[in-house]
């Protein structure tokens, strides 16, 4: 087992078990809780893929459906042991993965065993499939009247003409009706293999004891069939349409969604650096000392709904700006002008140095909380970032590193969606 020191008093242990499962353990001996996540590399995008030179399809929303079904696996109540031990068990499905996680104060080893017990064999009854279909249909309806969600999806659809990027993770009420036993079996056969999984543990544990326990668990000792890595291709062809406007009198205010596409040359084969730079870059662009921020404030265009975030999912990436505003036209005109000026501006060295100091403090604080540090480690692993180098590399970021990102702010990379109350 390899120990990697990531900070002065924080270490991550890593081991690949005999069945191919990769385990990461981050001991936090002063804390009472332990958090455990089992990641399966199977998500909302995986409805068309290739395995062992054959092409396969699944109904959209299968990964999410399967996430629900795991709780009904083998007709047993997966949750029961966790509830009895006051552990919080939950799961979520993202575009690239499904995560099953629990946090507990008591009996961690026992619950870890119970977690993995549920991933050895898969058997779903027709009755539970039918039941979950109803529940998932209700879940999918929850965002039916969210105009903000619709506006964002319109943006992504306009930017990327690839359904694995813009399709809803949960599918639709029609596509999930096609999920049956056969579909679920195909999904578990291709994706629910230890070599396609990862286990992350943070908390009051002894790494050696955990590994010893795992090595003896049937999930590890079972004879697994051969695993064939899943191939996925994301086509990032450029779309010619850059603006979409929709009028809806029932809207209470106007929604603007902006996407600035990042060329794949900046992140393909360069995940680590891209992941490191995008957040601080946006911080510099939207810092209260920046021209952009001051202009928005001066024109009364800034409000609490303004959000700015880097989106990076491994195979595509963009900067997203979103706002709900009474002045959509003025906002779009102003922000567009300011964004197009970015290639020429020089960021303040003073502000950048202050930012670096704040990052030191933020890193210390994030490891002061079990949930936060687990989440941080998880996100780095999901982003395929080398944790052992990440924190050191963070300290070495320079202002010059941002130049390549400044230069992407040209008209051909900017996409805008406006949902307006009236014409």
């Amino acid at each position: 087992m390899k120990k990697n020191d990531i900070l002065m008093d924080e270490a991550i242990y890593c081991k690949t078990l005999s069945n191919g499962l990769v385990v990461y353990i981050h001991p936090k001996p002063k804390f009472v809780q332990t958090i455990c996540s089992l990641h399966v590399n199977f998500g909302g995008r995986d409805f068309m893929y290739r395995v062992n030179n054959s092409d396969y399809t699944l109904p959209r929303g299968t990964a999410h459906f399967l996430e629900h079904m795991i709780f009904e696996n083998n007709s047993s109540s997966f949750s029961k042991s966790f509830i009895e031990n006051n552990a919080d068990l939950n799961a979520f499905t993202a575009r690239k993965l499904t995560s099953y996680y629990f946090s507990t104060k008591n009996n961690f080893s026992f619950l870890l065993k119970k977690l993995l017990d549920n991933f050895i064999e898969f058997n779903f009854s027709e009755k539970s499939i039918k039941k979950e279909l109803q529940i998932i249909s209700q879940e999918l309806s929850m965002n039916d009247d969210s105009d903000s969600t619709k506006a964002y999806k319109s943006l992504v659809r306009m930017m990327y003409n690839n359904p694995t990027i813009y399709e809803d993770i949960g599918g639709t009420k029609n596509t999930i009706k096609k999920v049956d036993k056969e579909v679920l079996n195909q999904a578990t056969r291709h994706f629910y293999h230890p070599k396609n999984m990862r286990l992350v543990i943070t908390g009051n544990v002894n790494p050696e004891n955990i590994i010893n326990q795992l090595e003896e668990h049937p999930f590890v000792t079972a004879k697994w069939p051969d695993y064939y890595p899943v191939e996925r291709v994301t086509n990032l062809c450029n779309n010619t349409r850059h603006l979409k406007i929709k009028y809806d009198k029932t809207l209470d205010t106007n929604i603007v969604e902006i996407g600035i596409k990042i060329p794949d040359v900046l992140f393909k084969n360069n995940h680590q650096k891209h992941y490191l730079l995008t957040d601080p870059f946006l911080e510099m662009v939207f810092n209260p000392s920046s021209k952009l921020y001051k202009e928005l404030k001066k024109k009364n265009l800034y409000n609490h709904s303004l959000t700015v975030s880097p989106i990076f999912d491994g195979d595509y990436s963009f900067f997203n700006i979103s706002i709900e505003t009474k002045k959509p036209k003025l906002f779009v005109k102003t922000i567009k002008e300011l964004l197009l000026e970015l290639p020429q501006i020089t960021f303040s060295e003073k502000v950048f140095n202050a930012y670096n100091r704040s990052e030191i403090g933020r890193t210390i604080k994030s490891f002061d909380d079990v949930k936060e540090s687990h989440s941080l480690i998880e996100n780095l692993l999901i982003g395929e970032i080398d944790i052992t180098k990440y924190f050191e590399m963070k300290k070495k970021i320079k202002l010059d590193d941002f130049l390549v990102y400044q230069n992407i702010f040209v008209k051909s990379n900017i996409y805008i969606v406006e949902y307006l109350q009236e014409a």
Binding site: K30, F31, V32, Q33, S79, I83, E84, N86, L89, K105, N106, K131, Q134, I135, I136, Q138, E139, S141, M142, D144, D145, S146, D147, S148, T250, L251, D252, T253, I255, N287, P288, S289, Y293, K297, N300, Y302, N303, H304, S305, E324, T325, K326, K350, V351, A354, Y355, R357, S358, E359, I360, G361, R362, I364, K365, F367, D368, D369, V370
Partner: protein, 422 residues
């Protein structure tokens, strides 16, 4: 080790020693009687004070100062509980022990005092420009809230649910009084907070008490210490004899339901804990009555939960369902309460809910902020520190008969339905 009380030249100071974290948190907590007419001012004031100060007159200057203090985080939190109005100003600073520089915490404390006691003013008043900006943002917020159906329906429900105590409740932005907000009313609210509100200071983390005493003493001249009345915490809910049933129709979307209850019993610490236990078993987790029956058994809803607010002694259920299942879902919620009131709560569920609550308490030690807030809340409500062991013992001792006896007073006060026109 429990809370350490100090009184330094009239300032009520409480140290919460928590050795395992690398940060120190400071809470300045101001309390007064809740007044809906100045609710907006209090909200705006909290934000304005943390935006800029006399010494750092722009947002970017203040941000740079905080960034240079290793990411000093500053937060304001304003809310009310029953009859009490509570403004909190909070900083979270990395402890000097974990940095290569000294006096970072002392400088952080100075920034906090600067924000609270040295606001930017023009001719003795909070600047009109700052207030105008906040009013404009509040208008945007009102529109955004309408757009977000979850937020909108929650607010609509709460206004209906607290209709009989609207002189003692408010929701931000409180539209009844928004037009009367000016820089003069905000300045007046500020002066009242500084000169009349009851102030308590809570400091949590790993530090030497005597050193902290000296530090606070050295900064006392900046803090306005005055004799002040300690305001009593008293929940304000009033019901009416007839059930309030409100339906609001919209163009499309899922049906959202809120059911608010009149608890029918007085608020004290023990009753509040019994009610928290009932909330847990009724709709607080995956094995609860509501979750099991409405979601798992009848598949009427993806999410359904209950919520008890000990601060305002309010209890409600929230669920989302399709229009066609509306009546069935509402009736099931009504039926589940009736069944609990008849004592139909199995022992396993009862004990599970108890264990859940105890477990939640035990894990508070993993969060410095949680520990701070639990202590502050217990001081505000019950004038005592947060004692985990004592709290756990009370919960463990609750008998099912006692719980059933208490909940039989609960009745539906308001049912609010937000549904489509078709």
């Amino acid at each position: 080790m429990g809370i350490i009380k100090r009184n330094i030249l009239g300032l009520n100071l409480y140290y919460i020693p928590i050795k395992k974290f690398k940060t120190i948190e400071v809470f300045f907590v101001y309390t007064n009687e809740m007044n809906p007419e100045t609710f907006n001012e209090k909200n705006f004031l909290s934000e304005i004070l943390l935006d800029s100060t006399k010494k750092y007159p722009s947002t970017d200057e203040l941000k740079t100062v905080c960034d240079n203090l290793y990411g000093l985080s500053k937060v304001n939190y304003y809310h009310y509980e029953g009859s009490l109005d509570i403004s909190m100003f909070i900083i979270n600073s990395v402890s000097d022990k974990y940095l290569e520089e000294d006096n970072i915490f002392s400088k952080a404390f100075d920034v906090l005092l600067e924000m609270i006691y040295n606001p930017k003013k023009y001719k003795g008043l909070i600047p009109k420009k700052s207030v105008k900006e906040k009013l404009s943002q509040a208008e945007d917020l009102l529109l955004s809230m309408k757009l977000n159906k979850n937020t909108y329906t929650y607010q609509q429900f709460m206004r209906q649910y607290t209709r009989n105590c609207s002189d003692k409740s408010a929701y931000f932005p409180e539209t009844r009084y928004l037009k009367q907000v000016t820089n003069e009313t905000i300045s007046k609210t500020y002066e009242k907070m500084i000169n009349e509100d009851h102030l308590q200071v809570f400091i949590g983390g790993d530090f030497d008490f005597n050193e902290m005493d000296q530090l606070v003493l050295s900064k006392l001249k900046r803090i306005n210490i005055h004799p002040s009345k300690k305001y009593e915490f008293k929940p304000q809910f009033n019901s009416s004899p007839e059930m309030n049933y409100v339906v609001e129709k919209t163009s499309s979307g899922q049906t959202r339901v809120y059911i608010g209850y009149d608890l029918g019993f007085s608020h004290n610490q023990r009753n509040s804990l019994i009610m928290s236990l009932f909330n847990e078993l009724f709709g607080g987790f995956e094995n609860s009555k509501l979750f099991y029956n409405i979601r798992e058994k009848l598949q009427l809803s993806y999410y359904v939960y209950s919520y008890y607010s000990p601060g305002n002694h309010l209890f409600y259920v929230n669920l989302e369902t399709s229009k066609v299942n509306l009546d069935k879902a509402i009736n099931e919620v009504y039926n589940q309460l009736v069944s609990c009131q008849k004592g139909d709560i199995d022992d396993e569920l009862f004990n599970q809910a108890k264990n859940n609550l105890v477990n939640h308490l035990e894990t508070t030690v993993d969060s410095q902020t949680k520990l701070m807030i639990y202590n502050i809340v217990d001081y505000i409500r019950y004038n005592q520190s947060f004692d985990i062991e004592k709290r756990m013992k009370i919960i463990e001792d609750i008998k099912k008969e006692e719980l059933v006896d208490l909940i039989k007073n609960i009745k539906v006060d308001t049912t609010y339905v937000y549904t489509s026109k078709e």
